[in-house]
């Protein structure tokens, strides 16, 4: 449904997106994760026909974005990362306007608008002026707006950015509801945890390059396979780090103030063995505790490890 082949975008000497190869199947919700400036918005704006690729190709529903942009525009619903709304239009009028832009007939507009307002929990706001809605409501309205012409593909760029925790949860539940519609969705975010309940697959974009793609389930399994151990003690220096890496289950060691944080892939028994070995080697350990690893931290670490490999 969405296919990119070596998609690249340069702004002068800056490489915003570098050889992006994506293949998102029909009905899949794909999360594009990356820090600010990673190239997510540029990649999505190329798919939305707003930006011309410097090289490579991108196809949406079989239409090449540079050769058949009108067909692509009809097939997508695009929500930019930063958007505005029209003053002096009610919620219903706002949805009607965008549906008319796509040539949706009048009867379908009313029916679909009602359905979508229910879906994004704004049914009671249908006659409220759009500029009087809260930011969270406006963002949910944007999701409804993207769906008004019943596109096959949704491109949502940071749909939860700038929201408070409550609105973020509401948006997450709206996004999770998209699965029922069977749409192909590509969502960018820099908050990975948001995608855990929403996306089927996740890709990490790092400095314009897609460094990893995996099913969310795999990511969750990874997060449960790895555990984070915090170790503190007296005079734990380089020798201590060497001793840690002698254990094949140690994936990464990061300094803390004070102590060390260890990403550990072994079992609990192996973890106990590690502790007893460290003590037997004479290290003075005062603290050895496990702390929960969330999916986001894991992703960032994997990204950092990948970044090290790239550079």
């Amino acid at each position: 449904m969405i296919l990119t082949q070596n998609l690249t975008k340069r702004y002068g000497k800056t490489l915003a997106v570098n050889n992006l190869n994506l293949n998102v199947d029909r009905g899949v919700i794909f999360g594009l994760v990356g820090e600010n400036g990673a190239g997510k918005t540029t990649a999505l704006s190329m798919l939305a026909t707003l930006t011309l690729p410097s090289s490579g190709r991108a196809y949406v529903c079989g239409h090449e974005v540079t050769r058949e942009p009108q067909a692509v525009r009809r097939a997508i619903g695009y929500m930019p990362d930063s958007f505005g709304v029209y003053d002096d239009l009610t919620v219903m009028e706002y949805l009607r306007f965008f549906a008319q832009c796509y040539g949706v007939d009048r009867r379908t507009i009313s029916r679909r608008a009602e359905e979508l307002l229910e879906r994004v929990r704004l049914a009671d706001k249908r006659d409220v002026y759009v500029n009087h809605l809260s930011r969270g409501m406006q963002q949910r309205l944007e999701v409804a707006r993207c769906l008004m012409h019943d596109p096959d593909v949704l491109i949502l760029d940071e749909p939860s950015s700038g929201l408070d925790p409550k609105s973020r949860l509401e948006m997450r539940s709206v996004l999770a509801g998209l699965r029922e519609l069977g749409k192909t969705v590509i969502i960018s975010t820099h908050i990975l945890n948001e995608l855990a309940e929403v996306a089927d697959e996740v890709g990490i974009l790092l400095r314009g390059e897609l460094v990893a793609v995996a099913a969310v389930q795999v990511m969750v399994q990874h997060s449960s396979a790895y555990r984070t151990i915090v170790i503190d003690g007296r005079d734990l220096g380089d020798d201590f780090v060497k001793a840690l890496f002698a254990d094949p289950h140690v994936a990464e060691v990061r300094p803390l103030a004070p102590g060390w944080e260890v990403l550990y892939a072994g079992t609990l028994a192996q973890q106990a063995e590690l502790l007893s070995r460290l003590v037997s080697e004479g290290f003075s350990i005062t603290q050895f505790r496990e702390q929960p690893t969330d999916i986001e931290q894991l992703f960032l670490r994997l990204a950092a490890i990948q970044e090290g490999a790239i550079s």
Binding site: K9, R10, Y11, G12, T42, S45, A48, T49, L50, T51, L52, S54, T66, P69, Q70, R73, R74, I76, Y78, M79, P80, S82, F83, G84, V85, Y86, D87, D88, L89, E93, F97, F98, Q100, C101, Y102, G103, R145
Partner: protein, 280 residues
């Protein structure tokens, strides 16, 4: 094929006409024009209405028409100068550009919606003009041509302002360009025409001064309107060079406007860089 009214047009009409501002502007304008016309007619005859003659009535008609031209010329940028730049500043343009409406649809919708209120104002003043019919001095054909040219001028100024609004990234700059254009059309071109004509009158051998004088006069909507009113003597089809010149100006301005809206269309040009985001 099913015909659809430009959705942008419907939206703009809804937004512009739903507040109290639009009826207030229309009412105030009609009241001012009516009061002025009645005052001029009354003043011309010192209160003795039986003294009203066709020539005096025509003077009133000419004065009111020229005044209306000045008003609409300077009101047009107020409606049109922020039309596209405002969308850009409100961050609504990018979404609009991902719809099938497209750059031409956006420009068309903006031009028609921003000139609509002024067209309405001009049409609504028809009954005011009819006051002069009471006493003769202006025939319906002349009134129609005068009003027709006012409508053409409104559309020309609106198009130029919308295009500048597309080219300039900020509304502040598009407003400066818009009023600069109106100033050029109504003041500078007229002054140039007058200066060159004076030059020719001092030195009748310099025929080129007269030719240029006619050229600049023909670009001034006030002068062309005055020619329609018979206030100045001009070539019979003085409006033709006016329309031709501004058609060329609009065609030239259309290129950078489209470039701002769809830089992709011009990507084959060597000097165009890929900085689309800042235009949208």
């Amino acid at each position: 094929m099913k015909w659809h009214l430009n959705p942008l047009l419907l939206k703009e009409f809804r937004q512009r006409m739903r507040t109290i501002r639009a009826p207030l502007v229309i009412t105030a304008y009609l009241f001012a024009m009516s009061a002025l016309t009645v005052f001029l007619l009354y003043e011309n005859v010192q209160g003795q209405l039986y003294l009203v003659q066709p020539t005096k009535s025509q003077q009133v008609f000419a004065l009111v028409s020229l005044l209306q031209m000045v008003v609409v010329a300077f009101l047009a940028p107020a409606f049109a100068s922020g039309s596209v730049s405002g969308e850009r500043e409100r961050k609504t343009l990018a979404v609009l550009l991902t719809t099938p409406v497209g750059p031409f649809g956006i420009l068309f919708g903006k031009v028609v919606s921003s000139s609509a209120l002024l067209v309405l104002l001009v049409v609504l003043t028809l009954p005011v003009y009819s006051l002069v019919f009471l006493y003769g001095g202006a025939v319906p054909a002349q009134v129609a041509s005068v009003l027709g040219f006012q409508l053409v001028t409104i559309v020309v100024i609106s198009v130029v302002c919308v295009l500048f609004s597309t080219i300039a990234l900020r509304s502040t700059w598009s407003t400066v360009f818009a009023y600069g254009s109106v100033g050029l059309m109504t003041v500078i071109f007229g002054a140039l025409g007058y200066g060159l004509k004076s030059l020719y009158e001092q030195n009748p051998i310099d025929y080129s001064a007269l030719v240029w004088s006619h050229f600049f006069y023909a670009l001034d909507p006030l002068y062309v309107e005055a020619a329609f009113l018979g206030v100045v003597s001009a070539a019979p089809h003085v409006w033709v060079p006016f329309v031709e010149f501004y058609a060329v100006v609009i065609a030239i301005l259309l290129v950078p406007s489209l470039w701002r809206l769809r830089p992709q269309w011009f990507s084959w040009l060597p000097f165009v860089s890929g900085t689309e985001k800042q235009y949208q």
